[in-house]
């Protein structure tokens, strides 16, 4: 549908906009108009608050199981940087916020291009799909190779999160740097998400290690910003995870003391 508005007509869309009652094209056009029209911007701010009052009489207790799913998902989901700041992790695609996030049930038709990515996950838990959607739903356009790689990684992450013995733990140190881990001893795998690690200076990198008793640390890979690392083939006797700062490209063995260390006994590893 082609709809052309005169400027005076744009002003009249403030109320339908505040009620989310514009069609997508009008919605976009009005948002553009809002940037240039102070009186509409002021009116929308007021009308939005009015519209929210209509939600006063709809509150209802959320299903109890939802809480765990969301809190679990949060542990492995990177955050966006504040507007104007540089993101540490993957930058969300600007359009992503306007698109409905992919949900959990694959049988329902979805407008999203992620349909193909998520449909193999139909059998896994809601939390898993939620996390995967969050990890991969917000990134900018990628090549087919990257998509294939992500699809594989997404499936493995979903498997870990869906494992009956999946458990979560977070390591925290004084300066706010930490890692979050969701691990499954039965799958011998973990999803490790950095939080607040940032990037070391001078091209150095954060390297993740698996620590075992009386064995050399084993490298589990290099962090790329706040993007989670998938660690597989974990030894059942593993005692902890450690992060060190290493020269570009990483090291065969740690060359410095860990900046973060996280014990694995609470997530089912170690004797």
């Amino acid at each position: 549908m082609t709809v052309l508005f005169r400027r005076s007509e744009m002003h009249s869309l403030a109320a339908p906009y505040a009620l989310d009652a514009l069609e997508p094209r009008e919605h976009q056009r009005f948002e553009k108009h809002l940037k240039r029209c102070d009186s509409c911007a002021a009116e929308v701010r007021l009308l939005r608050e009015d519209a929210v009052r209509l939600a006063w009489n709809t509150a209802a207790p959320a299903p109890a199981a939802m809480r765990n799913r969301v809190l679990m998902a949060v542990r492995t989901t990177p955050q966006e940087a504040a507007p104007g700041q540089t993101a540490l992790g993957p930058q969300p695609h600007p359009r992503a916020a306007q698109q409905p996030l992919p949900g959990m049930r694959a049988q329902r038709p979805r407008p999203s291009r992620l349909h193909g990515l998520l449909s193999p996950l139909a059998a896994t838990t809601a939390a898993a799909a939620l996390v995967v959607a969050a990890l991969f739903g917000v990134q900018a356009s990628r090549t087919q190779d990257q998509l294939d790689q992500e699809r594989t990684q997404a499936r493995e992450i979903a498997n870990i999160l869906a494992a009956p013995d999946a458990a979560a733990s977070a390591g925290q140190v004084a300066n706010g740097q930490s890692i979050n881990v969701v691990a499954s001893a039965s799958e011998r795998a973990a999803v490790v998400t950095p939080a607040g690690l940032g990037r070391p200076t001078n091209g150095r990198v954060h390297q993740l290690w698996l620590m075992r008793p009386e064995v050399q640390p084993r490298s589990l890979g290099l962090f790329d910003g706040d993007t989670p690392l998938l660690a597989t083939d974990l030894n059942p006797d593993a005692t902890s995870l450690a992060v060190t700062v290493e020269p570009q490209g990483g090291s065969p063995q740690p060359t410095s003391a860990p900046v973060v260390q996280l014990a694995l006994n609470s997530v089912g590893f170690g004797e």
């Binding site: 009249s12 209509l54 009489n57 939802m66 809480r67």
Partner: protein
């Protein structure tokens, strides 16, 4: 702690603050989404996505531009409306209408869950609107219809619907302004 302060901590990656925020907003978010989406399973999905989106994009919240709860509910409403529209577009409408006819009326369900003062005020104030104001506002906000669809359903010109929406919201503000 208030939702406003919690959101600021959440933006810094504070998971404990997120748990507290969840306690404050999950009920309002879930209730609003269910009111719009109606199907319980889909409502849960959308509410989860909204709550996770709060975690991801907490940094976008600007305390200078309104209350945190308003920001959260605006986001929840937007996502709920998106869902109900794509479901309608996908031809699930008949199914939903059938469910609606057979299940208990939604208002009744909500009433059993919580009967607060605010709930009562909103109802009373909605009753004070003219029928056209009330229908224009509620068909859009609670049922997720666009103003064009509202105009069609009420057999009114587009301009009239836009005006009724605006007047309805303004009158609601006057009525509720003194309530809380």
């Amino acid at each position: 702690m208030q939702a406003d302060e919690l959101l600021v901590l959440v933006a810094k990656g504070d998971q404990k603050a997120f748990e507290d925020l969840y306690g404050l907003v999950s009920g309002p978010v879930f209730g609003l989404v269910r009111r719009v989406v109606r199907d319980p399973a889909q409502s849960e999905e959308v509410a989860q996505e909204v709550l996770l989106e709060l975690w991801r994009s907490a940094a976008r919240y600007d305390p200078g531009r309104g209350s945190a709860l308003a920001w959260v509910l605006t986001l929840a409403h937007r996502r709920a409306v998106d869902r109900v529209r794509s479901a309608r577009a996908a031809g699930e409408r008949e199914m939903r209408e059938a469910q609606r006819a057979s299940g208990p009326a939604f208002d009744q369900v909500a009433e059993e869950v919580e009967a607060g003062l605010e709930r009562e005020w909103v109802r009373r104030c909605l009753d004070r609107l003219t029928a056209l104001q009330r229908q224009s506002v509620t068909l859009a906000y609670y049922d997720g219809y666009t103003y064009r669809e509202v105009a069609e359903r009420l057999s009114l010109p587009l301009g009239t619907v836009k005006t009724r929406m605006r007047d309805g919201l303004t009158r609601l503000r006057e009525c509720l302004g003194g309530a809380v």
